[in-house]
């Protein structure tokens, strides 16, 4: 199995995230940046499939130079090699442009399986799996909470999460699989893994080397524009009371005055 897994470096979950004042893109300079938490599930799933069926796991990311830290993390978890698409021209790309750029890189790797996470914690679009399937012309197996690959038959089956249960979805390989959180328990990189990661092959591509035209990516040609950004006004502080044995009744009173019950 030739498996590609996409990862993204994002501002730390615990960081106060904001937009850059100059161009209203996500401010990645003033915060700690980490691998998108959900991507750890994608990497883990890729590694498990490789361990069960053999093959190779290639990490693909698009992002600034610094995103190499996130590649290193995926390699130290056990991925075999990586491709880093990085170029100033990519700055400010929207989800549609990003999917186009990633698909271009992924197609050259001829994968059997492309694994993504459901969403990144910065933009929370939740559409990258669907868009990669669209761009690559491959089956879309997103929102997977369980993945079963049958390399001999050349098929993959997933449980696609729904509000009240799941849909069982099947496709032939190659396919794009998008995994949800909780599909597995991501491993921590071992010391050995961290040392080995330093020697693993990493290919760095610019826009031109990836076969992209700088005019189709980046902020200037994005499909949408942020006109204005303001911090949300803080909530008015409310009433906090200590339970004196009638707490439940007090809440009910409050709800009644608010006409909520």
């Amino acid at each position: 199995m030739n498996i590609v897994v996409t990862v993204k470096q994002v501002p730390d979950t615990w960081a106060e995230k904001k937009l850059d004042a100059s161009d209203r893109t996500t401010d990645r300079k003033s915060v700690d940046n980490v691998m998108n938490e959900m991507d750890e599930y994608g990497v883990e799933e890729a590694l498990r499939i490789k361990e069960a069926h053999g093959g190779e796991v290639t990490v693909v990311t698009m992002g600034p130079q610094k995103a190499v830290e996130t590649i290193r993390k995926a390699l130290s978890m056990g991925a075999d090699k990586a491709v880093h698409l990085t170029d100033d021209a990519l700055h400010g790309s929207d989800a549609l442009q990003t999917s186009k750029a990633l698909a271009k890189v992924i197609a050259t790797l001829s994968p059997d399986l492309v694994i993504t996470a459901t969403e990144a914690s910065d933009a929370r679009g939740g559409v990258m799996g669907a868009l990669l399937a669209e761009r690559l012309g491959l089956p879309q197996l997103t929102l997977a909470r369980k993945v079963t690959v049958d390399p001999a038959a050349g098929t993959v089956q997933i449980e696609r999460q729904a509000d009240n249960g799941y849909a069982l979805v099947e496709a032939s390989l190659p396919a794009v699989v998008g995994v949800v959180e909780k599909i597995n328990e991501p491993r921590y990189p071992s010391f050995k893994g961290i040392m080995a990661a330093k020697k693993k092959p990493l290919t760095t591509l610019g826009v031109g080397e990836a076969g992209l035209d700088a005019s189709e990516v980046g902020l200037a040609s994005a499909g949408s524009k942020v006109d204005d950004a303001e911090p949300r006004p803080p909530r008015q502080s409310g009433t906090i009371v200590k339970d004196e044995g009638d707490g439940g009744a007090k809440i009910a009173e409050f709800l009644a005055t608010q006409k909520l019950i």
């Binding site: 937009l19 999917s99 933009a123 799941y166 499909g223 909520l260």
Partner: protein, 318 residues
């Protein structure tokens, strides 16, 4: 008047409440045309509802292909309709299936795509709460026909009864869109409660519950209020409640009229999924819990005493 396409959100033909919200919003932009895509014989269940909420026209697409394959066939049909109808905008719900459909249709039509809009002006400037709702941005699409996925509960639905014209769509789906086949649908939890993202009231439980079986307390309170049940990440990580009920940064974002947080500390991860709720009530034994910073009404106390009492009080007042 300019045509606005509204992708109908439904379950096997039964319209979801967000459909009425989208039609209401679309009426402020132009003339709404509902786009119904589903399996054979499902439209009949939605017909009256779409007329009730002011669809001027309904495009009806019914086909096994739409029901049997993941997203791609619907995206193809929607993209074709965008090309032939040239609407001023396309609105969908910001739910998982609809946003995937919207994104793929936008890619096919080389159009810009915005998601999680909570407001939209007649000039098609969208309001979005980003970074877990901590920053409010105004954005607009600069390319093609704006495709905008709108959060449930962001517009109050208003009826506008009429008699829409109907146009049957011929569904011809390419082979490449028929590759992810749905072979079975399994219903695991038929709670009878409203959908989490659509609910007017959400009651969520967290670490303070201490054990999965104690979610019964949360469920009882939710049922007395007619609410959906949510859970914090700590609770879903512990396996106390299903992951699809998780509210927060890596779960669902909700914006109900009332959010009741039971035994939830209110870490940033959780706040990101609920801080735009209209009214927030928190019950927690720790007076320092950050959830109290958000609460309109906070009760410092033992949830095992407070919640049953609250449930009784709500029942009494019915």
């Amino acid at each position: 008047m300019a045509e606005v396409l509204v992708l109908v959100e439904h379950a096997d033909g039964e319209p979801k409440k967000v459909t009425a919200e989208l039609l209401t919003l679309a009426r402020t932009l132009g003339e709404p045309s509902a786009v119904f895509l589903g399996g054979p014989g499902t439209y009949a269940k939605a017909k009256e509802y779409l007329a009730q909420y002011g669809a001027a026209k309904v495009y009806v697409g019914e086909s096994d292909d739409l029901a049997d394959y993941v997203v791609a066939p619907a995206a193809e049909v929607l993209a074709k309709l965008i090309a032939s109808a040239s609407p001023v905008a396309v609105l969908t719900a910001a739910t998982p299936d609809a946003r995937e459909t919207a994104a793929r249709a936008a890619a096919k039509s080389d159009s810009g795509f915005l998601w999680d809009a909570v407001g939209l002006t007649p000039e098609l400037v969208a309001t979005q709460g980003i970074f877990g709702g901590s920053t409010i941005v105004q954005s607009h699409v600069t390319k093609g026909i704006p495709v905008i996925a709108v959060r449930p509960n962001s517009t109050a639905a208003e009826a506008a009864p009429g008699t829409p014209t109907e146009e049957q769509l011929t569904i011809e789906v390419s082979d490449v869109a028929k590759t992810a086949k749905i072979v079975d649908r399994v219903v695991e939890a038929k709670s009878g409660r409203p959908d989490l993202t659509e609910a007017q009231i959400v009651v969520s439980g967290g670490r303070g519950l201490g054990a999965g079986e104690n979610f019964a307390l949360v469920e009882k309170l939710a049922d007395s209020l007619g609410a959906a049940v949510g859970a914090s990440r700590a609770a879903t990580d512990a396996g106390w409640y299903p992951h699809q009920n998780q509210v927060g940064q890596t779960g669902k974002t909700v914006s109900p009229q009332l959010y009741v947080a039971v035994g939830i500390s209110g870490a940033i991860q959780h706040r990101a999924g609920m801080q735009t709720s209209k009214t927030i009530v928190a019950i927690n034994k720790d007076p320092e819990a950050p959830i109290f910073e958000l609460a309109d009404f906070g009760l410092v106390g033992d949830l095992f005493q407070v919640v049953p009492q609250l449930t009784d009080e709500v029942e009494k007042r019915k």
